[in-house]
Symmetry: C2
Subunit: 349 residues, 2 copies
């Protein structure tokens, strides 16, 4: 979960994450096994057995070998050691904070993962750079099938579909989402009109860290709210058409900023770059806002990256408090962390 | 009054202008000739004669030849062509705006000048980088004596001293001033307490462009208010001791900012540098404030100038609207001027 070599393999180091409005596409399946009580009732012993069975099923497959999957027993990890994984969206805060047996299966790119004993027995997740929701869905399906093929039986009801701990996930157990970068819609305040409008189509908009989190760096998650009574394909289609609408609105708003207010906007994008290249102290909120500007600066070809081995979204992950502290390799005060963040960004840009 | 070669010779391109709190020392003598009516009563013909006589006296001297003095008849110049000279403090706004015969004698470094037919017949001025008030005084005296030696007789009263148009200049006709950079006293708001205290000692504090001007870039002029009833040496001594007090207060305040509030202050100095190096639009006020920070950054050896042929105070002159427009060599809208200013500073830093 640590070193530099591994870091450079991660999915968000792909230049494709900075190539358009959509940063990433994510699919999540919630599944439970019929041979075990649901997580809220499961005993420690059963939980361990369930986790081992699933881990064996996954790690024994050729697919997992190709993908460099590893199993992490995080049952006894202090929460601060789990923070980097939470910030990189491979571990939910719910699982990190939960007491008892819990585990994580994770590939080397960190785009494929399976959480064990979260709200459901397993949470299969697949992330792809850009708007590639179909690829993400395909990989999630492969993981889901792989576990079933090795003898684990999912709790399934012919009327309701896949059974889950929380009824909001019952049915397909599918959550499909896109991470979108919406600085122009945020700047024009249009985002506050868009959110309720999307709600009417069963879509929800959240901040970068999911439910209840505020938006940082103008990064938003667009996802489906309803899993029951719709087919997987309907859900994906709904997400795609909603996303297409939001993305086109964002592109229009960017165009408008760059033409109608061009000088002022370009000046701002340059200043943000200048501040990141020179400042000596940077908190997370300002860091994310400045990186948001710089992402537009690069995408609009206003300026170029000095270091093409970096991605802006990758830097957004890197400067999160947990990831940053992990890279520093020692405990830092909040002021020291701000200094380290500024040093890191200057070096990385 | 124009080209790049001349520009690089100017006194404010000397690194000494950025070596301490004091940017420059200035001496001004107000003198009138007894053979002519005072400027408010002089006829055009007499004014022309007086100007020619003075110009001949100055230009015929070996000193003026060594210094590269030239005479400029500015009687018919539109005011916008005079703006650059006003901003560089070799021409008063009063003379620039005055109707009728008027002239300027100026050396190539632009630190020695004589205004003709301003409020008084002549205004002799000498500027030296740093706090070198004695050198400035010596050069002004040389110019004053040179004119007298060539047969021009100053209006002088044995009781009152040199006679001037305005009684506030009568006596020595001397104004001695220091241009001081006081960002730390400004930041700590202590400057507002200092100004009235200095008034009690007959000293006055003004903005960068003199009487009635606001401070820009934390640059202030400290000068004597009273010319009558004091000897030249008393006036110089009073300026020196007042300046020593202000300079030591400023240095203490800087020290305090850099130690007590070190990280935040250093971060700010770096950010200002980063903005100047990257912005695409810059108004005069922000430009001066950012250069003020950068002057401290360089003086405190927090960072270095990429181009040692430049001085910060020189850049402060360069980005004034008139000088900037003159360098652009064409008429610019205020928005275009802000873009040109940003381009100029990026290139120059």
């Amino acid at each position: 979960m640590g070193g530099n070599k591994e870091r450079n393999e991660r999915w968000f180091m792909s230049p494709f994450v900075d190539s358009q409005v959509a940063i990433s596409a994510r699919i999540r399946f919630a599944r439970n096994f019929e041979d075990y009580p649901f997580p809220m009732k499961i005993t420690g012993e059963d939980a361990r057995k369930m986790a081992k069975e699933t881990a064996d099923a996954v790690l024994g497959s050729g697919f997992a070998l190709d993908e460099g999957f590893r199993f992490f027993d995080i049952s006894n990890n202090p929460i601060e050691t789990l923070l980097p994984l939470m910030e990189r969206h491979v571990l939910s805060s719910q699982l990190a904070q939960k007491q008892g047996v819990k585990g994580l299966l994770l590939n080397s790119k960190e785009n494929l993962s399976i959480m064990l004993n979260e709200e459901d027995h397993i949470r299969i997740q697949s992330i792809y750079p850009g708007d590639n929701i179909d690829n993400a869905y395909e990989s999630a399906e492969i993981m889901e099938a792989m576990i079933e093929e090795r003898g684990c039986r999912y709790a399934y009801d012919h009327e309701y579909g896949y059974l889950t701990s929380c009824p909001t996930n019952t049915g397909t157990g599918l959550r499909a989402s896109l991470m979108l970068h919406l600085p122009a819609l945020e700047a024009s305040k249009f985002i506050s009109k868009l959110v309720p409008a999307l709600g009417k189509f069963g879509m929800t908009v959240r901040g970068i860290h999911g439910e209840g989190s505020e938006s940082l760096g103008a990064v938003y998650q667009l996802s489906n709210q309803i899993t029951l009574g719709k087919s997987e394909q309907e859900i994906l289609q709904q997400l795609k058409s909603s996303a297409a609408h939001v993305i086109s609105q964002e592109n229009n708003a960017r165009e408008k900023l760059l033409t109608e207010n061009g000088l002022k906007y370009r000046d701002r994008l340059y200043r943000s770059y200048g501040i990141l290249k020179h400042c000596r102290s940077l908190d997370i909120k300002e860091g994310m806002d400045l990186l948001s500007d710089v992402r537009i600066g690069f995408l609009s070809r206003i300026y170029e990256m000095d270091r093409p081995d970096r991605t802006i979204y990758g830097l957004m992950m890197d400067i999160q408090p947990g990831n940053l502290a992990a890279q520093a390799g020692k405990t830092l005060t909040s002021e020291e962390l701000n200094v380290y963040r500024a040093d890191f960004i200057r070096e990385a840009l």
